[in-house]
Symmetry: C2
Subunit: 792 residues, 2 copies
């Protein structure tokens, strides 16, 4: 059904196409073909309704808690897409009649979604339809829709209802008070919603322009309203070959918009300004507005992130562009008070909450491609210190204990307490991650470190970064448990990255990362005291650094760090893992359907098997080697290899966060085929044939992982010892890859071929990097030969 | 599409049939074929979903206010009807493939809904389906569903999801906290909802029994849960001619159930008891449970209300049975803390609120057929005194000012403030009735009087009735405005029954009824003091009757009662009406679509035209002649005739409350053809061809009006001077009518023929009645000849 090879010429590997209508595929397409601009995200539901659809429209950061016993989530806003179309009284739907020449396409380059087909109604009326739409990157509050209908079989009456429908819920949870509905001048629709707990006003607007054969039709549609809904009823007679064009412009504004955050907000003012803006948009018209949007995508996205791959499989290039497309539309580049949810703005899954997915899987793209956005996302976590303090206090700890799931920065934990059915008890299963998955605080500290190292952004460190590192370290000092028998600090009863293991003791990832967090604090504390005593003093006043430093030192020195086993270098994932029962996992590996093991075992049973849901020890190895902090452990290649060889067969990749890390390590270790096949697996997470995996939204971390696999894996770009390293290892069927990265304030272009790579620095400045053991310095451009090095 | 003549033999005029599937007719059929038992009401949505559907399931009295800026309403409960059926993977829907032999029927006698057809899937699989369901009158908490599917074209995989879905809303407003979901023994589903404001727990349960060719299939369905939803996935292979039978039993209990109202309520206890009850039901099985339900309908309904009409048009008899059916399922006979909403329990329209519809249009059926239920409904209003006091206090009045729309007895006004679009301003239009439609207090007083006169229930009067009459009279004393110029009391700025006239002064209906209310208070006060000084003392203490009595006397004596004009006997509907502009109303009269006048005029303009939405002065004349209270005005037949002749042409019957009154008066006046055609018009309100008029629910008052027209109109039964009067005037094409009524504790059977009628008294006792000026006394049975009397 999905075809990635429709693009030709300039559009090669830019088009995602659906070539036949499929009701079962609606959810997936809504998510992967989702439109957005960081401010808002619009699932690509069709104008006409289907039962399998999931209409979702979100604005970043407009969190609300619908009922007192639910958690805060991103509310599903009023729908403006739906059009109820009747052709001679018959309801238009592709489930009835006959459809020919069907094509739906997302053009990644222009961020436009189009859909066209010829439809024969059950009664035999034939019409051609063409739908187009965009969510403007140039005007963050604007959405544009255009429909062209042509009658191919004589006279028909074409009627449609179109308006704003705020009866939408989040799977039944209503987040909004019933709000004001207005129609101005019989034409401009306005509907206001206000979240029922957080009190955010949302003003939706809509205007139509309807023309026949290019001439605007001068008529007044019937106006209608009901509960939470306002709409217009249009009815037009079409003769054979008549073309009806409907342009629909929609805007949305909220009281949480940044311009409203700085005092003076009044709803009526916002409504009025929005109305005037819409009137201006209406004068400009769809085509001009679309052209401005297209230009913005060229300049702000594709010129900046330009990414080309020459490969036997076009989907490799397309998938990376798909990733960049989604990374662009998911990132609230305009507002540092917002983060990125695990499903971005493409579905209700995970409720818009930010997980470690952001820092470990998504942020690297921005750190290396658009550090401004990375900074903005880190500031969101800085603002989250307030919530992190609350969570720590609630659990009896100190410092910043970041919530496993974060919504409002000021709030603590927002992980729901109960999940899906437990097939044994018939009850809902308990979700433990909000209570005991603690590594996220260290993951965020790591991200601060990575950002600082890659950008050298001292201002960020002074204003935000140091405090985040110190505050998370402060948490770990309180979290560590003294084992007086073994005379060491332990971290017991946690969940590590491998969520198939609940309530484990001394998860290696958690312990090592907590240790690294402490070490980072010690390192940065020393640095700060030297280079900026003022800030040191300020922070010291806030959190008594002088007494924390010795505590950090003592605890870092005595935290238990599970050593690689002498005999085989295996680092135990946790205290119990290596002693668990082994079973034949072949029937669960490489399954199209994830979590296949649940058909045979329940959670409690899986907890007792030597099976890993997703990269755990391997993520640790991948992260540790990026840290060049005194005392943070580095492991030799043999350990990396041994653990990869041990854990990869035991890892089911039942989380979309898993394959990217394995692919990068496989590439590092010279397992090129495996690396490439894991990359393909990553592509399949959202672009594969499995039709229902993306129903709740795209997999934002896996999307970040696609970019990471290409750049960190195949291009071998990494930050090591505070240096840029470039160790390219192209997959066998890749002839070349070209892309941009940013490093220490410089913009670099990389062109990687089979036998060499070329680094070009934009503008002034020198950039040093290491490649396979050799140091290079590049002023304008440098070509580095590749050869025997490849497998070092 | 709807066929009322399918019933044959014993089932003649008992079946409402739909003979072809129509998506556009779904809403109407859901409402008019609605099932219920007074405890709950279930719209007859189909198992499979359609976009035009409106799934609604209500339990009487479970009011809730979803959001602080909305009004209290009856929440739409979790849905248990829906089944998502797939045949070899194709979603079953009558909108696709081919449907033959379609028949959907509501059997009014057994209160069973059935649906059968042969469906050919788009891929050519042929199956026969038969669906049956009932809402038990024997077990108020039980609903039963049965599906039989037969494969007619070889092997098919028949899969269905069935469960409890609490994602339902009231047009987008969610009333429930997310609640617990459980599956016991892989079989018994339980979902608990709690209203988010009023805190009512609702426990839904479901169990399936699935068999193939009569043998229960022993397999475990897949269990699933998501937000606000729990369900099972079944999949069964059928060979040609295999019959699959699915029995689904559903129960629902609430913390508001009467047994829970008396202390000791615990949710877990209710859940457990409900589970045990369901297990017992599951052992009994669908067929036995249905048989018990059928018997209950025979004994409690049709034996009691038995109603037969011999007429040329079978629909006449069917329509009255339809009315009795709905009057039965809408009445909360089990609980006096509940009333009847304007749409009963058959739709979201009017939010489950009780209007004057109950007292003036619905209650008479119960007063004359089942006084126990009438009493229960009046006690609901007695409990409502608390809210009526609140409303009075809020508006600066005294006594009991009943809310125009009533939900919780303790609350005051619950009329929404804003309604549909104003086509001129583009804003929502203001709803005035909650503020200024005041006649309802007098209407309720009238109902108390009617009940007392017809039943002689002194206990009721002592405990409830006197207080209601006195308290409403107390309200009027504060409501009356002294016009010092004219030296009279007036009632200005009101809406009378004719809601096309807002902000009128001295609406005749309101003034006369307020006057009657005062007179009733004086009358009953005198009576009470004599016959029960204890109660008098008690009430006197509560509301200082001794000082109220003179005030009532003085005000009643000086309230302005618009006199019939000398020249033509017309009673002015209000101060302005007779001076308003007259227009040609012929294009709006007898329109299938009501409110057609709104296409040409807006509310403000209609306010200035001599046009009446619904019976106003004529309802007054109809009510007044039933009151035999000293000083309450009676008008001679000439006045009745003059006003009928004047107002009927000016009345658009744009309210479903209108035709019944006009039909009764037409019958009284000997306009037999007109009376009959108005009766037909009343039938068409819910049973007519207009497909969308009942979408929001049936018209409970119009349904009450059908019975009233037949009994008060054609049979000429009325209460006059405290006496039963019987003035039959059968429509020309009616040969006879037979029915039961109750009068002063006696059960009477009436058999009315063209030339005589027979009254039979059940059991002991004498009943006196008047017929065309003659007094009769009946001990067992009496035959009264009819003849020249007919047109008196």
């Amino acid at each position: 059904m999905l075809d990635y090879a429709k693009g030709e010429g300039e559009l090669e590997n830019w088009l995602i196409s659906e070539t036949a209508f499929s009701a079962a595929g609606l959810g997936k397409c809504e998510a992967i073909l989702c439109l957005g601009n960081g401010y808002m995200g619009l699932r690509s539901s069709t104008e006409e309704s289907y039962f399998q659809e999931k209409r979702n429209f979100f604005i970043n950061g407009t969190f609300n808690r619908s009922q007192k016993n639910e958690v805060t989530e991103l509310p599903n806003l009023a729908d403006s897409i739906q059009m109820d179309i009747r052709v001679d009284g018959e309801r238009f739907s592709l489930e009835v009649g006959e459809t020919n020449d069907y094509l739906r396409q997302l053009n990644l380059k222009t961020a436009e979604l189009s859909r066209s087909f010829i439809w024969t109604s059950p009664k035999g009326k034939i019409l051609s339809f063409k739908f187009r739409r965009f969510v403007s990157l140039e005007h963050l509050h604007l959405l544009g829709f255009k429909v062209e209908v042509k009658s191919l079989s004589g006279k028909v009456q074409f009627a449609f209802d179109s308006g704003i429908n705020a009866q939408m819920t989040n799977s039944g949870s209503q987040h909004f008070l019933e709000g004001e509905r207005r129609i101005f001048d019989h034409r401009f629709l306005q509907l206001t919603q206000t979240t029922n707990e957080s009190g955010i006003d949302i003003v939706h607007q809509m205007v139509h322009q309807v023309s026949r054969n290019g001439k605007e039709i001068d008529f007044e549609p019937e106006m209608d309203m009901e509960r939470r809904k306002v709409w217009l009823n249009y009815s037009v007679d079409l003769q054979e070959q008549d073309v009806l064009t409907i342009e629909k412009l929609v805007t949305v504004h909220t009281s949480r918009d940044k311009e409203n955050a700085v005092g003076g907000y009044e709803l009526t003012k916002m409504q009025q300004a929005a109305l005037e803006e819409l009137k201006r948009f209406a004068l400009t018209g769809y085509e001009k507005l679309f052209e401005m949007h297209r230009q913005a995508w060229q300049e702000k996205v594709w010129d900046l992130y330009s990414f080309n791959v020459e490969s036997e499989k076009g989907i490799d290039e397309l998938a990376i562009r798909f990733a960049i497309y989604h990374l662009t539309i998911m990132a609230p580049a305009h507002d540092e008070r917002m983060g990125i949810g695990a499903k971005a703005l493409s579905g209700e899954g995970y409720k818009g909450h930010a997980f470690w997915d952001t820092e470990i899987f998504i942020l690297p793209f921005f750190i290396f491609s658009n550090p401004k956005v990375a900074k903005s996302l880190l500031i969101y976590r800085f603002l989250g210190l307030e919530g992190a303090h609350k969570k720590a206090a609630a659990q009896g700890y100190k410092g910043a204990m970041y919530p496993w799931e974060m919504a409002w920065p000021k709030d603590g934990e927002t992980t729901p307490e109960w999940g899906d059915i437990d097939i044994v008890t018939g009850k809902q299963s308990k979700i433990w991650s909000g209570l005991i998955e603690h590594h996220i605080s260290a993951d965020i500290a790591f991200a601060v470190y990575q950002y600082e190292q890659a950008t050298g952004d001292q201002e960020f460190m002074d204003a935000y970064g140091y405090e985040m590192i110190f505050d998370t370290a402060a948490f770990w000092t309180s979290r560590l448990e003294w084992n007086s028998q073994k005379e060491r600090y332990e971290i017991n009863d946690v969940i590590g990255p491998d969520e198939y293991k609940e309530h484990v003791d001394n998860n290696a990832f958690t312990n090592y990362m907590a240790h690294a967090n402490l070490k980072m604090a010690i390192y940065y504390c020393r640095e700060l005291k030297e280079i900026n005593p003022e800030v040191f003093k300020k922070l010291s006043k806030k959190m008594d650094l002088e007494s924390l430093i010795p505590e950090w030192r003592e605890k870092a020195a005595n935290v238990y760090l599970p050593e690689p086993r002498e005999e085989d270098f295996i680092i135990p994932q946790d205290d119990a893992y290596l002693g668990l029962k082994q079973i034949d996992l072949s029937k669960y590996k490489n399954q199209a359907k994830v979590r296949a093991i649940y058909r045979d075992y329940n959670s409690e049973q899986i907890n007792k098997l030597q099976v890993t849901k997703q990269a755990d020890v391997l993520v640790l190895l991948y992260l540790l080697e990026q840290l060049s902090i005194d005392g943070v452990r580095k492991f030799p290649k043999e350990v990396k290899q041994a653990n990869f060889d041990f854990y990869e067969p035991r890892t089911l990749h039942d989380s979309s966060l898993s394959t990217a890390t394995h692919a990068i390590l496989a590439s590092d270790l010279g397992y090129q085929e495996l690396a490439y096949s894991l990359f393909q697996k990553s592509i399949e997470i959202d672009l594969g044939e499995q039709m229902d995996t993306s129903d709740d939204g795209v997999h934002a971390a896996a999307i970040g992982g696609l970019w990471k696999t290409a750049v960190f894996g195949f291009a071998g770009i990494r930050m090591k010892q505070g240096r840029l390293t470039i160790h390219p290892r192209l997959p066998a069927n890749w002839r070349s890859m070209e892309f941009n990265i940013q490093w220490q304030g410089h913009k670099l272009h990389l062109a990687i071929r089979k036998d060499h790579f070329i680094v070009t620095v934009e503008g002034m400045g020198k950039v040093a990097f290491e490649s396979f053991g050799q140091m290079f310095e590049c002023e304008n451009s440098i070509q580095v030969p590749l050869g025997a090095n490849l497998h070092r």
